[in-house]
Structures are given as structure tokens and as C-alpha cells.
């Protein structure tokens, strides 16, 4: 009986220790192979025109056979059913960027920013009277994010072409573009809120309205309630 009583706290401590280890262990740390596969996947997310340019360039650099295989396997790389090998990764993300034109390089960079730059998600409740005041500090944060977001250091270390001068210029163009898209979206919000206010004012019954504001560097989920007209 005494042994059982002694064993219980020992077991509890052991379970606690194992659980905390399991929680803190980097379960989602990717292997190099998975990282490479993800990067190829991101690259193949390019829109149709730049993707076609990419395959043409691939053919020019590595020959008909390699290009044919790449085209045949493209969808499988993209949906993850086939993992690209090290050579494929090197060809797409190390060798090709060195011969890409500026436009294509920028499109690749856009995809990388989309996939790897950290994005924020906010949730906020506003009324039709106070939405501007409530959203102002969040908007400022999102704009700052658009102007300051960078690709992770680990990625920049692996893809050294990201440090070249033309890529730095391309990155600045994309940063400015994201900031302008954010400003444009915010300018259009006025009209969105006017539509929502009309809906809340005129629909019978109880209305619940949520707006998911999608910006280049994050999303703001806004729960909108009817104000009392003092805005």
C-alpha cells in the first residue's frame, strides 16, 4: 500500500515531465527535404504567365528531357504527392533565379513574401459610429507591417540571390506596392461601412454582421454592431 502511495506522485511527476517535453519539443520543425518541397511548391504557385516563363527558362537551362519531366510532375510537386529531389530544388530556386529576368524574379519574390512574411490577424468589435476610431491603431499597425515585413533570415541565408541589388530593388517595389494596396483597401472601407450601416438600419429582425478585411500583411476580423447615431 505504501509503495502504491509513493508511486502515485512519482508517476504524476513523470507524466507532467513527459507532457511538457512533448509540448515544447519542436514537433513541427521541418526537415531540409520538406523545406525544399515547400519552397518548390511556393514557386509553382506563380500565376500562369510567369510560370510558363519559368518552364521555358528551365528548358533553356537544363534541356528538353528535364523540362518535360518538370512539366509532367509539376502538379504532383504542387499538391505534394511527389517530393522534389535536391537537384530539382537547386535548379528551381538556386540556379534559375541567377538567369531570370527582373520581372520574373519579382514575381518569384512576390510568392515568397506571400508565403513566408509573417502576417497578423486581429479580431475587433466596432459600432457603425466608432469604427474609424477603433480601427485606426490597428490600421497603423498593419501599415507598419506592410512597410517593414521581411523574409525570414533562414530563408535569406539559403537563397543568397535574395541579397543581390536587383532583388533589393524588387523587394522595395513590392513593399511599396503592398503598402499602397493596404491604403487603397482602407479608402474603400468607408463605402463598405456605409453599405453595412444601411443593412443594419433597414433589415428587420436581429442582424449580426462580420467583415473579414483582407490586407496584404494580415487580416482584421471586424464584428460590426449598430451604433446609436452619435458617430
Amino acid at each position: 500500500m505504501l509503495y502504491i502511495l509513493l508511486a502515485i506522485p512519482v508517476l504524476v511527476v513523470l507524466i507532467y515531465f513527459l507532457r511538457s517535453r512533448a509540448l515544447t519539443s519542436p514537433a513541427n520543425v521541418l526537415t531540409r527535404g520538406q523545406e525544399n518541397a515547400n519552397l518548390v511548391k511556393v514557386l509553382l504557385d506563380l500565376e500562369a504567365k510567369p510560370r510558363e516563363e519559368l518552364f521555358t527558362l528551365y528548358k533553356d537551362q537544363f534541356g528538353d528531357g528535364a523540362a518535360r519531366y518538370a512539366r509532367q510532375t509539376y502538379q504532383k510537386w504542387k499538391d505534394g504527392t511527389v517530393k522534389p529531389n535536391k537537384q530539382t530544388f537547386h535548379r528551381f530556386l538556386i540556379n534559375l533565379p541567377r538567369v531570370m529576368n527582373f520581372d520574373l524574379k519579382c514575381e518569384v519574390l512576390r510568392e515568397l513574401r506571400e508565403a513566408y512574411c509573417a502576417k497578423d490577424h486581429y479580431e475587433v468589435t466596432v459600432t457603425t459610429d466608432d469604427w474609424k476610431k477603433t480601427l485606426a491603431p490597428i490600421v497603423e499597425g498593419v501599415l507598419k507591417k506592410a512597410l517593414t515585413s521581411e523574409l525570414p533570415e533562414s530563408l535569406r541565408r539559403r537563397l543568397t540571390w535574395l541579397a543581390e541589388d536587383d532583388v533589393a530593388v524588387g523587394n522595395a517595389i513590392l513593399v511599396e506596392s503592398e503598402a499602397r494596396q493596404t491604403r487603397n483597401a482602407l479608402a474603400l472601407l468607408e463605402n463598405e461601412f456605409s453599405n453595412i450601416e444601411e443593412l443594419l438600419d433597414n433589415a428587420s429582425g436581429r442582424s449580426k454582421v462580420t467583415h473579414e478585411l483582407r490586407l496584404p500583411m494580415g487580416t482584421i476580423s471586424i464584428q460590426i454592431e449598430k451604433g446609436n447615431g452619435n458617430g
Binding site: 527582373f102 536587383d166 530593388v169 522595395a172 511599396e176 449580426k208 473579414e212
Partner: protein, 132 residues
Amino acid sequence: MDEENDDLIPQKQSLFPLSADDIVDNALQSLDEQQAREVTKKAADEVVRIAVEKRKAEYRSDRAQDEMRNLIHNANLLDEKVGDYKINSTFETATGTTSVEIKKSRSNLTLIVAASALALLLIVILLLVFLK
């Protein structure tokens, strides 16, 4: 690009000692003539792309406004003809997605009123019993 004047949007502010323009200027100095031409073209293309996206967003906003008015109309029609209803609707708008839920539940209201009346009656009875 046109700048919209809206008090929600903070005015241009300096967040960095080095602005994006400075970075472009510095890097541009290291580029050859061909690269500089490509940069100029890409920047111009990007301006056009943003303008096209903005126009598309405005179109989505107009369409969402029409759809919301239809929803109001339908909700009001239901309100006249049906006691209980619930409408869930989503709209692709200029800046994202708006989700709307409109509901009316007369039976619930009746139930609440009846329960409140019953509770009140019980309290009165209990008071009468204890005060006797």
C-alpha cells in the same frame, strides 16, 4: 498613383531611417543600364496592376451593395409573412468578405415572456405563502 484622403489612413510617416525610396536609390546605383530599365518597367507595371485591382475592388463593392439591398428586401418580405426565420449570407466585397446573419424568432420571444410571467407568478405566490 492617386493618394486617397481619409482620416483612417495615417499620413505618410517615417518608420525607418532608410526609406524604401532610399533603398531603391542605393541599389539602383549598382545596377547596369539594362537592369535599371527593367526596374522602371516593373515599377510602372506594378502601378497599373494596383490600379486594375482597385477598379476590380470598386466593382465588387457596387455588386455587394446591390446584393445587400436584395437581402434587406428579402428579409423584410419574410418578416411580413413568416414568424421565425434566419438568413445567412456572405458577400465578396471590395476589401474582403462580409458575413451577415439576420434572424427573427417570435416563438422564442413568446417563450421568454411566458417564462417570465410564470416566474413572476411563482414569486408572488411564494411571497403570499411566507408572509401569511
